[in-house]
């Protein structure tokens, strides 16, 4: 995947879609170690205020990502969003959201793995951006900023993996960069790939106490000013895949030529599409080629 170069113009009005993670499993684990959720929110609110102060026309939309649902919690362009009550309205909506998320979890415990719904919140953000794109020729430059922690991808069910990748590809198509600020202990291959493919910034802050500084220096800059800034460069992108049979992350594996399923060992037939491998070899050159490619282990 070649990374895209986002559309640039001197028009430095930006629309910032901020996705924040409200996953209770993560925050309860993080509470004891470094950054509590309330501290995290105070950093984020300060960051949102500073973005809005950078340009009068800047717009900020916040989407909360839970484990059962996701929803808009703040929109600076919405009617009735008073500038001096931003934090209050955001926090109030957020409390309502967390309660709703918890209730939904009680009703039906699907999947039960407690990973955040990144695919849902990304799709919502892209929907909002599409609406802005269609509103007329003069619209703010949108970008998506993912804040928080995402579980490592091995725990994702397959359909959610496809949904996230599709969201990333449509962001790439509409040239919307996805910035990610990761607060967890481990790197997230997903967010690395998302930022790399869409041309955004991926950052995993070392000092979580100074989160506001990271946010305001790296993520507050609009796309045009980024040309002149020395933003953190990726320290490598994890392009490994996880196999369908054991969910291991592998750097070398076998791919079914019919359905592109990934396996870590050689199989006789594909468990996904049922094809039987290596039958009916007809012409000589292809047989030799096939042997070179798939040596029997």
């Amino acid at each position: 995947m070649t990374p895209v170069q986002p559309k640039l113009s001197t028009d430095d009005v930006s629309l910032l879609m901020v996705l924040i993670d409200t996953n209770p499993f993560f925050w309860s684990a993080a509470n004891t170690t470094s950054l509590s959720f309330s501290k995290f929110l105070s950093h984020v609110v300060a960051f949102l205020n500073s973005v809005l102060l950078l340009n009068q026309l800047n717009q900020v939309v916040v989407i909360a990502t839970g484990i059962n649902t996701c929803d808009y919690v703040y929109d600076s362009a919405a009617a009735g969003a008073l500038p001096n009550q931003r934090a209050e309205s955001l926090l109030q909506k957020l409390v309502e959201f967390v309660v709703k998320d918890e209730q939904l979890g009680k009703e039906d415990s699907v999947d039960g793995i407690g990973s955040s719904l990144l695919s849902g919140s990304l799709s919502m953000a892209l929907c909002y951006i599409q609406r802005v794109f269609r509103s007329g020729p003069h619209h703010p430059q949108p970008r998506v900023s993912v804040n928080g922690y995402m579980h490592s991808w091995t725990s994702f069910p397959f359909h959610r993996y496809v949904a996230i990748m599709n969201a990333i590809f449509s962001a790439q198509r509409s040239m919307v960069p996805i910035d990610s600020c990761l607060l967890g202990a481990q790197h997230s291959a997903f967010l690395q790939q998302a930022s790399y493919i869409t041309g955004g910034v991926y950052l995993k802050p070392q000092q979580l106490d100074g989160l506001f500084q990271y946010l305001s220096t790296v993520f507050a800059s609009d796309l045009y000013s980024r040309n002149f800034l020395q933003l953190p460069k990726p320290v490598g992108v994890d392009f490994r895949a996880s196999c369908f049979c054991h969910k291991n992350t592998i750097d070398m594996g076998y791919i079914c030529s019919v359905c592109l399923s990934i396996f870590c060992k050689h199989h006789k037939n594909c468990s996904t599409c049922g094809s039987v491998f290596g039958q009916a070899q007809t012409n000589a050159p292809s047989t030799s080629n096939q042997k070179r490619k798939t040596p029997e282990t």
Partner: protein
């Protein structure tokens, strides 16, 4: 049975001029074009530029300006319909698709490619569409490879070998855009057949021929070549640019490909792009197999290392082969050292939407929604927060017409004329209806019509004197006026692309039609063209 070394059969309304061309030498080229310019035929490919009734493809937009007819929405609707029919056809039975494709694009650069029926010439248009196609192809099939072959002077050359980098193909093609000599399908198929026999058995072998000529000049029996292609399971598709040719149709029938003839440029684009999504695979064509692949990691930016593909030291991110640790510059590729196929997991994910397509959305009518009597519809769209109660801004849309002030004698006549133009009889003259008429003068100042002291003078004197040079007249409701007062001059400037000047009393009238106001198109009322 027909066995000819040259042209086999031409179907379509071909005239004598075209038939003679087959036997002509190159010096007759000029005469050919003259023939075309006479434009006897009515078919699209015979039309010369002078015959193009280009004004027919213009339409008047809301502001009264002339624009080319915008077919985008129409095409999009057609595209959606086709998509829906395709998905409904495939939803019943899951069709296997060839995801790993090895495609050769054969481009006919014979004499016929210099024909000017496509503007500026066939080969330029073809090259442009191929460039678009190559990018779209790699976007949709990241694991596939493309090679380019050109036919020129009766011989087929390989322009680029099979490869996965769109840039190198496009660059090679753009550098070789010149045409001469005859065209030969047999030579091209023989060449492609040799190359495609070497690819691994799990790959889907395909040829896409863009054929400009009306004949093929072959050294041997083309039927044998077609049978050879059929035996090696190569799917041949042909897109013709001139007329339907029997031999092309026969090739496609035998090998399971698609044959189509382009009517004009947009049709050509559509036909070419139809080949970008993976075609349904014929089960016995490719053998299911496990392919060993590596998923290299991207190294940190700013690291210096020697890459194995260009054999030079490079700064910046590269990918490291997991088996032999060699460095490559881009994915997907095959490791030069150990031969491992290198891809990234997004490449695989990019192909998944062909296997697990998103089911198209269904339109649901409001009464059929499962909503109880006490439940309300949601206020906003769940996805984009667009308000559902109050769709869109209330400003309405601008409608523009032209009016000749020099023919009018009084304000009353002006009002009657304006009412007639916009189909609002009686509304403007009645002050209780709440309509406001404003005009902009040449200094962009906005004034209310009727506020000036010259009430009884002839209107031509009032509006076209040196004191007051009207350039635009605006009609608004009073509410709209309040809402848009600050942006009127901006908005209209943008709309008209500069100020229109008052020449001989003809003035542009802009009517901001509120949402819900009955719309009268120019055909309903019958106006002349706008300024």
């Amino acid at each position: 049975m027909i066995i000819l070394t040259s042209l086999v059969l031409i179907v379509g309304s071909m005239n004598n001029g075209d038939g003679r061309r087959l036997n002509r030498e190159e010096e007759d080229e000029d005469e050919d074009e003259e023939d075309d310019e006479n434009g006897r035929g009515l078919d699209a490919w015979e039309r010369a530029y002078a015959d193009d009734r280009s004004w027919e493809s213009l339409q008047e937009d809301e502001s009264g300006l002339l624009r080319p007819i915008d077919n985008k929405t129409l095409y999009h609707a057609q595209y959606r319909r086709r998509l829906r029919s395709l998905s409904s056809a495939s939803s019943g039975a899951r069709i296997q698709k060839g995801l790993i494709r090895y495609l050769y694009i054969v481009i006919d650069l014979s004499r016929a490619a210099s024909e000017m029926d496509f503007k500026p010439s066939r080969m330029v248009v073809v090259a442009k569409q191929i460039e678009v196609f190559i990018r779209e192809f790699f976007d949709q099939n990241p694991l596939s490879q493309i090679g380019l072959v050109i036919i020129k002077d009766g011989v087929a050359h390989c322009l680029t070998d099979l490869g996965g980098s769109p840039e190198s193909h496009v660059k090679a093609l753009m550098g070789k855009l010149e045409c001469s000599g005859d065209s030969s399908i047999q030579n091209a198929l023989d060449l492609v057949c040799d190359y495609l026999c070497q690819i691994p058995s799990y790959g889907h072998r395909e040829v896409l021929i863009l054929y400009s000529a009306l004949s093929t000049c072959d050294p041997g029996d083309i039927m044998e070549t077609i049978q050879k292609c059929k035996k090696s399971k190569i799917r041949c598709s042909v897109i013709g640019l001139s007329a339907e040719i029997f031999i092309c149709k026969y090739i496609c029938q035998e090998t399971g490909g698609l044959y189509s003839v382009a009517l004009d440029e947009s049709h050509l684009k559509e036909l070419v792009l139809e080949h970008a999504p993976p075609p349904p695979a014929i089960a016995e064509f490719a053998i299911a197999n496990l392919i060993r692949m590596g998923f290299p990691q991207r190294a940190a930016e700013g690291v210096i290392s020697i890459c194995s593909c260009h054999k030079e030291a490079k700064v910046g991110g590269g990918y490291t082969c997991p088996r032999c640790k060699a460095r490559v510059c881009e994915l997907p590729t095959e490791c030069r050292i150990c031969g491992l196929t290198l891809v990234s997991s997004p490449h695989l994910a990019r192909s998944f939407h062909h296997l697990f397509p998103i089911t198209p959305f269904d339109d649901v009518s409001l009464p059929s929604l499962p909503i109880g009597p006490h439940q309300m519809l949601p206020k906003n769209c769940f996805g984009c927060q667009q308000s559902l109660r109050d769709p869109g801004p209330k400003q309405g849309s601008l409608v523009g017409r032209a009016i000749d002030l020099s023919r009018l004698n009084s304000y009353n006549e002006l009002l009657i004329e304006l009412e007639r133009l916009f189909g609002m009889e009686g509304l403007l003259r009645d002050p209780d209806e709440g309509w406001r008429i404003l005009y902009t003068d040449n200094e962009n100042d906005m004034m209310v019509v009727g506020d000036d002291p010259w009430h009884d003078m002839p209107i031509s004197y009032t509006f076209c004197s040196e004191f007051c040079d009207v350039s635009k007249i605006h009609i608004y409701t009073q509410e709209v006026e309040k809402m848009t007062m600050g942006m009127i001059s901006d908005d209209t400037q943008k709309l008209l692309g500069g100020s229109s000047t008052n020449c001989n009393g003809r003035v542009q009238v802009l009517f901001r039609r509120p949402a819900g106001f009955p719309y009268y198109t120019s055909s309903d009322v019958g106006f002349g063209p706008v300024l």
